[in-house]
Symmetry: C2
Subunit: 174 residues, 2 copies
C-alpha cells in the first residue's frame, strides 16, 4: 500500500515548464494588431503567440515588446511594424491568408462555431476603438467571443489569447 | 448599388459593448485561486469571470481586486477570501463541485478533449509555483492547455481565461 501511495503521488508530479508539444507543420496563423494603446497588451499577445507556436505578429504603432511580460515570446515571435494596416492586409490576402477580424460587430460570428481556415490572419483592434471600420470593410470574416456579463468585453490581449487557443484547438498539430 | 453599398456598410457596424448574451441558468462554475503573486493577475481573472457570467471567485491571499483592471467584474463577481484552500475544497466537493486543477502535471488531460462537469470548481495555482502538490492530491482532474513553443506556459490569468472560455463553449447557455 505504501508503494502504491508513492506511485500515486508520483503520478501527480508537476511538469511545469515541460517541453512544448511538437507541431507537425509550422503554424499558418499570423496575428495583426492595430495600434494598441498599451505595450503591455501587445507584449501579452506576443507571449500567447509564443506559447501557441505562432511565429509572426504584424503591428501598427510602436511595436515595443516588453520582455518581462512577453518572456521568451520576445525572441520566438518576429514583430513586423507597419505604418498602416490596409496595404499589409492586401499583401496577406494575396499570400492566401483569410482575413479574420476579432470584433463585436453586427456581422460577427460566434467563436464557438466559426471554422478557421488554416492560413489565417487574425486582426486585433485597439483596446478602446476596436478594429477600425476601414479594416472591418476589408476582412473576410468577423468573429466574436460570447460575453455573458459585465464588463461588456474581454481585455484585448485576453480576447486574442482565447481566439488563438480556439484556432489551435481546431489545428492541434499545426 | 449605392443603397446596397450603404446596407453592406451598415452590416459591418460595430456593436462594441453590446448587451451580454443571456444565460438560461446561472453558471455553476466557480474559480478558486491560490495565493497569487500579483493582484493584477487576480484582477484580470475577475474581469474574465465577469465577462463569462462566473459570479464567484474564492482566493487565498490578499484578494485585493484592482478596479481599473477588473472593470465591472469587481462589482459583478463575489470574492471570498480564505486562509487556506484544502478546507474550502472539501466544502466545495461536499456541495457537488468537481474539483479541476489547471496545471502542467503528469496526470493532466488536454483542455481540447476534457469534458467539464457543469458544476465545477476550477483551481488556479500561483504564477511561480502552480497548484500546490497538497491541492493536486485533492482534485478530481487536472487539465492543461497544450503549449507549442516558448515560453513554456501561458500567463496564469491568460490560462484561466482560456479555460473559462472552454467551459463556456461546452455550456453556452449556462
Amino acid at each position: 500500500m505504501c508503494e502504491q501511495s508513492e506511485a500515486e503521488s508520483d503520478d501527480l508530479l508537476h511538469q511545469r515548464h515541460k517541453n512544448p508539444d511538437p507541431l507537425e507543420r509550422p503554424r499558418e496563423l499570423v496575428v495583426v494588431c492595430g495600434p494598441m494603446r498599451s505595450n503591455i497588451n501587445l507584449s501579452r499577445i506576443v507571449r500567447a503567440c509564443g506559447c501557441c507556436g505562432v511565429s509572426k505578429v504584424f503591428c501598427a504603432g510602436s511595436g515595443r515588446v516588453i520582455e518581462k511580460i512577453a518572456r521568451d515570446g520576445k525572441n520566438q515571435v518576429e514583430i513586423s511594424v507597419h505604418r498602416s494596416l490596409p496595404p499589409l492586409l492586401k499583401t496577406l490576402r494575396n499570400d492566401g491568408y483569410r482575413l479574420v477580424g476579432l470584433e463585436q460587430a453586427s456581422i460577427s460570428r460566434s467563436l464557438y462555431t466559426y471554422g478557421f481556415k488554416r492560413r489565417t490572419a487574425l486582426i486585433i483592434g485597439n483596446e478602446r476603438n476596436g478594429v477600425p471600420e476601414e479594416v472591418l470593410g476589408m476582412v473576410d470574416d468577423v468573429v466574436e467571443i460570447p460575453v455573458y456579463g459585465l464588463p461588456f468585453s474581454h481585455n484585448a490581449a485576453t480576447a486574442t489569447a482565447i481566439t488563438i487557443y480556439e484556432y489551435c484547438r481546431q489545428f492541434p498539430q499545426g
